[in-house]
Point group: C2
Chain length 399, copies 2
């Protein structure tokens, strides 16, 4: 375990924003950092080689998807996820909880953020009880039970550096009483997860996987401050984890989300790295870094790319390459961007690739978006070090 370390290196004056370093057996993560999603053991339409070339520090994969296809044993036989996907940097896996409840309730992303949608996603959650959750496999329709112990065992097999306790991702649209009892159950599941993690009875590193991992616990409590406080109390005093994540519902709109995150982060005792689940918007990242968040993950940079949206500085945040206005524009996405896409290709070419249904278009915009987000995080780290966070934020958002 001595391979892991968390250090705060710089703190912004009069703010919780900080520059830190998470050391892992696969290298260091300079924080604030963004964790890109290789959900099914692949960055969508993008190689890990190119991710590294674009300054990516850390990626994650999802327990839920990988346990169903191709199965965690097969990945363990490769020597773990790092070997499987050709990535030698730090990795994280989640616990599977998010997806079970996402598919269970429809779309958790909508639920967590309080959006009410007419999601057509087929609900596959069958039952939640004290033991764990039963859901229907989207691969073969079989019923699968995931428990805290099983989640940890799978995450041991997958062998990511950072793993996460199993929890219920409580949706927004439930009542306070449900949220409270769900939180208490998630706390019990967290204890069981950490006991399973510490017992290591079933775990042996295989085929050169480092065998070393550290675990994150999750702060529950939805939008209710007293519950958030109770959950912080539990996470800080009743279990031991390397890092904490802020989970559960963050409210029904952006203002409420900011309030919940600010309240929760401000009450943490600052001895652990803090992860915020599922946030990828640059404006939000500036805000949440200020509240004390160290790492972020979200599918948005790569998902947006696949829909033709290239990230740009400024409040607008993105442009849609499929827009006819780019058909004859021989400038790059951003003249000052140093990514491969911007140094070599025009908006017109990228527009042509989407108009022609060429998959290369997805890759080139993914390339830009990954570079862009890593550049954003580096800009933020530098701004904290130089104590000119507000100036740099303004430059970024108003350029």
């Amino acid at each position: 375990m001595s391979n892991f370390k968390w250090e705060v290196k710089y703190k912004l004056k009069n703010s919780k924003a900080r520059v830190g370093k998470i050391s892992t057996p696969h290298g260091d993560i300079e924080t604030p950092a963004f964790i890109f999603c290789a959900t099914k053991a692949a960055l969508k339409s993008f190689s890990t080689y190119d991710a590294k070339k674009n300054n990516t520090q850390v990626i994650l994969s999802n327990t839920y998807h990988l346990m169903l296809q191709p199965g965690s044993n097969l990945i363990a036989n490769h020597g773990g996820l790092h070997k499987f996907i050709g990535w030698d940097g730090p990795m994280l896996t989640d616990s599977g909880g998010f997806q079970i409840f996402s598919l269970g309730y429809g779309s958790v992303a909508d639920e967590i953020k309080g959006r009410r949608t007419n999601s057509k996603i087929k609900k596959t959650l069958i039952n939640i009880n004290e033991e764990g959750a039963v859901f229907k496999s989207y691969i073969n329709g079989s019923n699968v039970l995931l428990t805290p112990e099983k989640s940890i065992e799978i995450q041991r097999d997958l062998g990511a550096d950072l793993i996460v306790v199993f929890d219920e991702c409580t949706p927004f649209n439930v009542n306070k009483n449900y949220t409270y009892h769900s939180m208490l159950r998630s706390h019990r599941w967290a204890k069981r997860s950490i006991n399973a993690f510490n017992s290591k009875l079933k775990y042996e590193p295989k085929n050169g996987s480092s065998g070393f991992q550290e675990i994150y616990s999750i702060i529950q409590g939805g939008v209710f401050k007293e519950m958030r406080e109770e959950s912080i109390e539990f996470n800080e005093n009743e279990i031991h984890s390397f890092g904490v994540a802020i989970g559960g519902s963050l409210g029904s709109n952006k203002e409420q989300m900011k309030e919940v995150v600010n309240f929760t982060a401000s009450r943490l005792i600052n001895t652990k790295p803090v992860h915020l689940l599922g946030i990828g918007d640059p404006t939000d990242i500036w805000t949440f870094v200020e509240y004390g968040i160290d790492t972020f993950d979200c599918v948005s940079p790569t998902r947006l790319a696949r829909h033709g949206a290239a990230l740009v500085k400024g409040r607008k945040g993105k442009i849609n390459i499929k827009n006819i206005e780019y058909k004859e524009n021989i400038n790059p996405i951003d003249k000052n961007c140093l990514c491969y896409t911007c140094k070599n290709f025009t908006l017109s070419y990228l527009h042509h690739l989407f108009a022609s249904h060429e998959l290369l278009g997805l890759q080139l915009i993914t390339n830009h978006n990954i570079f862009f987000i890593n550049n954003l995080m580096k800009t933020i780290r530098t701004a904290i070090k130089n104590n000119d966070f507000e100036i740099k934020r303004k430059e970024w958002l108003e350029s």
Copy 2:
């Protein structure tokens, strides 16, 4: 024009196989060489950067597709195709004829190779006459006339190093009389193409395109030896071109194709590089190099990859990654292959990517197939230099 040169550097004893060099303003092509298809100004699901990294020497794009989307003027405004697609090596464009007649008759690839299929491709050829060919745009349904002069003008705008005369790609399933009159018309079109090419009235290099190009003419005559001889006579004595391509129908089966190519290539006077259109099978490439072919092009290495077929040595030629036998196989496609895919990923991982519909799978197999074909061509060139062609062919096809 002085930037172009064709040299034969080594000849295999008792054979027409040769190592040569085509010099262009964008660098040299060591032959025998394979030209990869960036049909619509994109290698399918693959960047030009990665193509270069995999030892690709030369790529082609298609006049037919690019004249309709995004239009050749737009590409000229970029400074030509090289700038448009971020490729600084040699390039070729075809004349548009192949696709017009391909879509006109159904599938020319089937027709040329004599396969009778129930192609569902909508026929869009409206009329062929002395002036040129009228076809329906697949982009907007409008009628488009392509003439030899227009094809050359477009290819001037596109700015590839090597361009091709406009011809009718005569199908197999027509009678001898049609083939003969089609050949004579294609000869007249070749003369008009070369006149247009030499007049350069409409051409000015834009935005840094080299402005220098050379042209290939095409040997017609279908499967009829006396017509092939007449077409060779025409190509060698009545027009001047930098290189020649063997076009038209090559027969109804592989034996006939070999006979037609062997007969045609054996009668050429050897002062020009010889291109064979649309051949990409490694076994065929060994054969046709022996007959005197210098360059090949085909969509097959990249198309096969997108269907999960990875090229391998041996008579079998390819394996299908989607086959269940690869699900748990932790070897690479080829233990001795030095490509990024084989050095980093198992068959099991590649199988998983296809099972999970991850686009990265297409890229990684495309990567292998492009490296594989470039390695094949290098092996062939070395075998000619070392005069052990037969030994190396046997090693390749029987390994």
